[in-house]
Symmetry: C2
Subunit: 286 residues, 2 copies
DNA sequence: GCAATTCTCTGACTAGAGTCAGAGAATGGA
DNA sequence: TCCATTCTCTGACTCTAGTCAGAGAATTGC
């Protein structure tokens, strides 16, 4: 890897942990410990402990103790979930909500302290660069996993995909027509817990894999996630022993079509009668 | 302050502390604690404890204890400075140097982990954006202080200024000619401990302040530090009851001249016979 | 209905990070 | 010379953050 790049990333790490890290440590917690504050923040309008542990990456014993201390201060209540009385749900009290908005103000304050010493033009440059850094760091955090089409995350993505299509297609889109897919596997891309992209696959005939329903969340567009899903799909198809991948698509999806072409797909005659399709592609796996 | 900007900075803080912060915490320390590792790194080729405390922001008792533990592991030696036997100087042993380069490799590794999941183009974009963020965050960390012209930092800056001039001036520059200034105050800009810019001032006649020797370190050019020094100088002049500021400058210093003009200075006839001067400026303080 | 599993909690730890109040040596200034 | 100051060290703390091993309640699968 280019050592100039590595050097710049190291410089960035250093400056950022010094400046942003120090501000966070000093101002974010307030009277409370940083961990307790973060927890307070994440609880929001009520969360079950399991998901809180997930997002914050805490040990269950530790989380319990933090909650106990917030409870003692009258900021949260923890009750059993009526649906499953093993799981418990934390909720903010009125005092907790007040505290949370104080936390909010401190976060704003930190941001303002960072912006304050700069001129307007410098602020604009900084914010633009931060947006870039943030988006690209997030790309690095995306994880792709193969799941069953019944998996809730897969269902969520496909729903989102249909919603997008309904807006995009010139002739509208009726999800019900194709809602019963033959998909065998879905690759789900997640940022942390949240699904932000997917692509489905099934094997209509031996040696041929068909790709369906590639979707990327608005917030993650333009970051190469589509290409990454395509690459991982190809790997999966190879592992299954397929010799080619095919797909059909609608003419409205121009950027997807460009992606297919630049990824080695070639347009072929129609191989099915999918109602919304205008283009059919195939890629030979070597 | 623009709330979109604040929101973006907050998003940045979150993403960066999650991604970069977590990587640092997990991989940087190695077997040693993060504090000890950072200390090891900063010692480098030998540093006195005072300056180490400054850079790392540690309590003297805590630093002492950290050094004791590194000493016990045979990584550093601490000896009295022969010049002043109260101050002690820490130096790395051979084992310490080995450990430090291992630390170096871990830092590189972290940078590579950040870059690894990206395509070449994304890497380039990330590195460019990081460089921007880093430079602008550093701007925010700059502190300006008024010191005596005898202050070592002031001397250091003026020396650096003369060195720069010797290169810039068409007809060369002999610092000795003007080495005995009448400066009364010097504003020194520092990044952490290190001086990166200055501007001097004296009062040749009642109510008139004269600006001399504005200098900004190469690494800090283009970040508006010159303008900031000028603004702070103006404030200082006002506090002293001055009604105008004047200055003379050499025609080689084009960007400085542009700065003066855009800051409200107007060219006036020569008010002195400074050998290297080609332009004279004055600004009325209202 | 019973066993395995899931979920949360408590108690008992550990290590890191840092603060604070002196003690004691060395130095500098009047 | 002597007193104030500077510099480092030690001891005695505190707090945060986190781990680990069980205990006990609720739920699920068979």
């Amino acid at each position: 890897m280019d050592s100039d790049m590595v050097a710049e990333v190291r410089r960035f790490n250093r400056t950022v942990t010094q400046r942003v890290g120090a501000l966070n440590d000093h101002y974010l917690g307030g009277d409370r410990s940083l961990g307790a504050s973060r927890l307070l923040w994440e609880i929001g309008d009520g969360r079950d402990l399991r998901s809180l542990r997930g997002t914050l990456g805490l040990d269950s014993g530790y989380l319990s103790r933090l909650l106990r201390s917030l409870e003692a201060d009258g900021l949260v209540t923890v009750e059993a979930d009526p649906a499953d009385r093993r799981v418990r749900v934390a909720r903010l009290t009125a005092a907790g909500k007040t505290e949370r908005s104080a936390l909010d103000r401190r976060s704003d304050g930190i941001a303002e302290m960072i912006l304050a010493p700069l001129t307007e033009r410098q602020r604009e440059r900084l914010v633009a660069a931060m947006a870039d850094v943030e988006r690209l760091l997030r790309v690095g955090m995306v994880e792709v996993e193969a799941v069953d089409p019944d998996h809730p995350d897969a269902r969520y993505c496909v729903q989102a995909y249909f919603k997008d299509l309904a807006v995009l297609f010139e002739d509208g889109f009726d999800g019900d027509v194709v809602l019963a897919p033959d998909m065998e596997t879905v690759l789900v891309a997640r940022l942390g817990e949240e699904p932000i992209g997917c692509v489905g696959m099934y094997e209509p005939e031996p040696g041929v894999c068909e790709m369906k329903r590639m979707w990327v969340h608005d917030s993650a567009r333009g970051l190469g996630l589509g290409r990454r899903l395509l690459v991982e799909l190809e790997t999966l198809a190879r592992q299954r022993g397929a010799t080619s991948i095919r797909l059909e698509t609608n003419r409205s999806l121009t950027s997807a079509i460009a992606l297919y072409r630049s990824s080695g797909f070639e347009e072929v005659p129609p191989f099915n009668a999918e109602p919304h399709a205008h283009h059919w592609f195939r890629k030979q796996l070597t």
